[in-house]
């Protein structure tokens, strides 16, 4: 697609606080996305635990599943709230985007709403249904939660994929017409973004959960309960982390193909080159990368799987069409750095497990697992910054500029400040609530069941 003809379809909005509007949206997404990870990955882990209980009859697994399910409900409830805010913000901050393109990508959101609904219904039944439904019914109730958690994120990511790879409509006389909603839903960016995020969901949620029990492990709590609650999420995380390297490569090649300017921003590549070099690490400022290691031809190899391939630089488009390189490049570096670190940690765990059939013994391993969760969250946010800021100045790639989508309303700084304060309150309250839940004594399971188990 050529970018020039479409770029004039919409008019600029006079909005002095565009940057604040973008930051406000980014803040809300940044709060919501880690919760999405739990929506994607946590139900599967909880249900796995309950399944272990059904297979072995050991009540420890049931205790873990029960405890986790309460955390799952709290995080889901917060996710309902932050997700509602996002729905409002899409309209409040970007009304022109919604009124022009809502009809193109909206169906994905409608189906996402359905998934969310199913998740809400069954999560309620699951958590309040412990000890009230039969074992079999209770386990079956968990299955829709797992499925809807995945389909929900799947559909939202389809919309993000569409913003990067807009299809399913035509622009005739500055009007969006001939809408093909299914084509928009299954755009070319959808699959790699989905799998990249899906695996990220497992990495984030599983490392965060594992980190809690790794901390307990370091404190000497190593009974069956803590051991099981550590091993399951840790294994999940350590399988997902290396897989993410492949997903990242796939995503990177798609970007290279369809959004060369974004790729150039990833790498801070000023000029179009044959056999472009790849910079690892370093910090980008003053228009170039400082420090880090340079591998000749590697970027061409990564982007095209050919060391002499031509990679487009930032100079291939006018300056007004380039993203802010420093933000994109540095966020990209952070994501890659943390992602590689997590994959290395995973390799240590998996090798120890396969070769010695035991857990690593070094205290340092568990200390690193404790920080792996927060680090994974940082990588997650950095990844979203990479793709979202990398898409700038476009809200719909090469079709509508962010400056054409923003509201003309006043008061964005007031809204931004209010929301920041409210989220700060929300965050501290959730943390406090989870701490309190963690301190509650475990519920004692029925002795009859315990006898069967032991």
């Amino acid at each position: 697609m050529d970018w020039l003809p479409l770029a004039d379809a919409f008019t600029q909005v006079d909005q002095p606080y565009l940057l604040e509007a973008r930051q406000m949206q980014a803040l809300s997404l940044g709060v919501h996305i880690p919760l999405v990870c739990f929506g994607v990955a946590f139900p599967a882990m909880v249900l796995f635990m309950e399944g272990l209980y059904h297979r072995t009859g050991n009540v420890v697994y049931r205790q873990i599943a029960k405890r986790w399910s309460k955390v799952m409900l709290i995080l889901f409830a917060v996710g309902v709230v932050t997700g509602t805010i996002l729905s409002f913000e899409l309209g409040l901050l970007w009304p022109k985007f919604m009124s022009e393109f809502g009809e193109v990508f909206g169906v994905a959101f409608a189906l996402e709403g359905l998934s969310f609904f199913i998740e809400a219904i069954f999560i309620t039944i699951y958590v309040y249904g412990w000890d009230r439904l039969s074992d079999r019914a209770h386990f079956l109730v968990g299955i829709p939660i797992v499925i809807s958690g995945v389909t929900g994120s799947f559909l939202v990511i389809s919309v993000n994929g569409w913003m990067n790879n807009p299809t399913g409509f035509d622009i005739v006389n500055n009007e969006v017409t001939n809408v093909r909603p299914l084509e928009a839903l299954f755009n070319d960016y959808f699959w790699h973004e989905f799998f990249h995020m899906y695996v990220a969901g497992f990495i984030v949620a599983a490392f965060l959960v594992a980190g809690v029990y790794a901390y307990a492990w370091l404190k000497g709590r190593r009974d069956h309960y803590h051991r099981a609650a550590l091993i399951v999420p840790l294994t999940v995380a350590c399988i997902a982390a290396p897989v993410q390297l492949l997903m990242g490569d796939w995503a990177g090649r798609s970007v290279a193909e369809d959004q060369p300017v974004k790729l150039a921003a990833f790498e801070g590549l000023d000029q179009t080159e044959e056999g472009a070099d790849f910079n690892i690490g370093g910090i980008y400022y003053d228009g170039e990368n400082h420090g880090g290691i340079t591998i000749p031809d590697m970027l061409s190899l990564l982007a095209d799987h050919d060391p002499s391939a031509t990679v487009q630089g930032l100079d291939s488009v006018p300056e007004s069409d380039r993203p802010p390189v420093a933000v994109v490049r540095n966020a990209f570096s952070v994501m890659v750095f943390i992602g590689s670190g997590l994959a290395l940690l995973a390799a240590i765990y998996l090798l120890t497990w396969f070769r010695k059939a035991r857990l690593p013994r070094s205290k340092w391993f568990y200390r690193v697992v404790v920080i792996a969760g927060p680090a994974a969250v940082v990588a997650l946010i950095a990844g979203w910054i990479t793709t979202e800021v990398g898409r700038q100045p476009w809200i719909v790639y090469e079709t509508m500029r962010t400056t054409e989508a923003v509201t003309g309303a006043e008061g964005i700084p007031i809204g931004y400040a209010t929301l920041a304060i409210v989220y700060l309150g929300l965050g501290s309250v959730v943390f406090w609530l989870l701490r309190r839940l963690a301190r509650q004594p475990l519920e004692r399971e029925l002795p009859a069941e315990a006898e069967v188990a032991r």
Partner: protein, 347 residues
């Protein structure tokens, strides 16, 4: 045809949210007015017991409404959001406060904590329906122009019809909540709570009815087109239906038949929204944009309707299962008074 069906889906979502979400906010209203920590403890405990299992599911309806709105009627969604951003943002912030406070208050360890969280919860319970109601009132009374005029952030929703519908939303929520919780109290076997909420249901029913009558005059003076739509043809029939359902509900509550009263109360509230939509049609934004002009491309509407059919096919049995479990008491929580003694309740 597709446009009308999509509008029907949108109104259906609004009705569901107004009834289920509205009752949820109404519970917060009764919490706010339950009196001091000691006197209100049992009422607060009963409210929490009633709300806990269905809170999340009730609030997903709002997301449903927003999504159908922007997908089905994107050309109206933009101007509405750009004009009425103050009440909408206020509602959004209220939703955060309320969700947080509700999730937490059961965990409060001291009376001080419980009071703070309780106040945040109760106050935001009144703010959210007021702002959302005012938004609907502003749309219905023709305050949104096309293209949007973002320079009147306050005057757009402070005309008498908007403020009135905001207040009506708070009142109907309280009324629904009282009827629903009275029915739950019967099931919980707490006769004092049955009486407490029966009194509230009757009081709120009378107040809401009086407000409805006052509304006739307010809307006539402030939004003549809307008034004409509500007092002629199908609009009038629906308004009369709402009034009858309201009177029947009061009679049912009076005679302690709370189970059926749930449904007549819901019908009375739902009919108001249906009536508004009928009164406005064929316009969406009165005098500015018709339903047809607001609507998305036909292909999108068809896809949206197919999605809605799939949703109904999946949601009805799922919701049916949830409400069956709730109404037969399978998911019932233990009853703990909140505030007087140790408020530590475990979920």
């Amino acid at each position: 045809m597709a446009v009308d069906l999509t509008a029907a889906v949108l109104v259906l979502g609004l009705v569901m949210y107004s009834v289920l979400g509205g009752a949820d906010y109404g519970a917060g209203f009764w919490d706010l007015t339950a009196g001091g920590a000691r006197r209100g403890a049992r009422v607060r405990g009963m409210l929490k017991r009633s709300m806990s299992p269905v809170w999340e599911a009730n609030h997903v309806w709002l997301i449903f409404v927003l999504v159908v709105f922007w997908t089905g009627f994107p050309n109206a969604f933009g101007p509405v959001m750009e004009t009425l951003y103050v009440p909408l943002f206020g509602a959004a912030v209220g939703i955060i406060l309320r969700g947080t406070a509700f999730a937490l208050r059961g965990e409060a360890a001291t009376i001080g904590e419980a009071r703070l969280l309780g106040a945040a919860f109760a106050l935001s319970s009144a703010i959210v329906p007021f702002f959302l109601g005012a938004t609907i009132g502003a749309v219905a009374s023709g305050q949104v122009s096309v293209p949007a005029d973002p320079d009147s952030p306050f005057s757009s929703w402070t005309n008498s019809t908007s403020l009135y519908i905001g207040a009506l939303a708070v009142a109907t929520g309280a009324y629904l909540a009282a009827v629903f919780v009275a029915a739950d109290s019967v099931r919980a076997g707490l006769p004092d709570m049955v009486e407490a909420f029966r009194r509230r249901a009757l009081g709120a029913g009378v107040v809401t009815g009086a407000m409805a009558i006052a509304g006739i005059f307010i809307v006539r003076d402030d939004a003549r087109d809307l008034y004409d739509g509500l007092t002629s043809g199908l609009g009038l029939a629906v308004v009369i239906g709402s009034a009858i359902a309201g009177v029947v509900t009061i009679a049912l509550v009076w005679t302690r038949r709370f189970g059926i009263a749930r449904f007549t109360a819901a019908a009375a509230v739902g009919a108001i929204l249906v009536g508004l939509m009928i009164a406005l049609s064929p316009d969406f934004l009165p005098g500015q944009m018709t339903l047809d002009e607001a609507a998305a491309d036909n292909a999108t509407l068809v896809a949206l309707l197919v999605a809605a059919v799939i949703a109904v096919a999946i949601l009805i049995p799922s919701l049916g299962y949830l409400y069956k479990l709730v109404l037969t008491g399978r998911l019932d929580q233990e009853f703990h008074p909140i505030g007087a003694s140790d408020p530590e309740t475990r979920r």
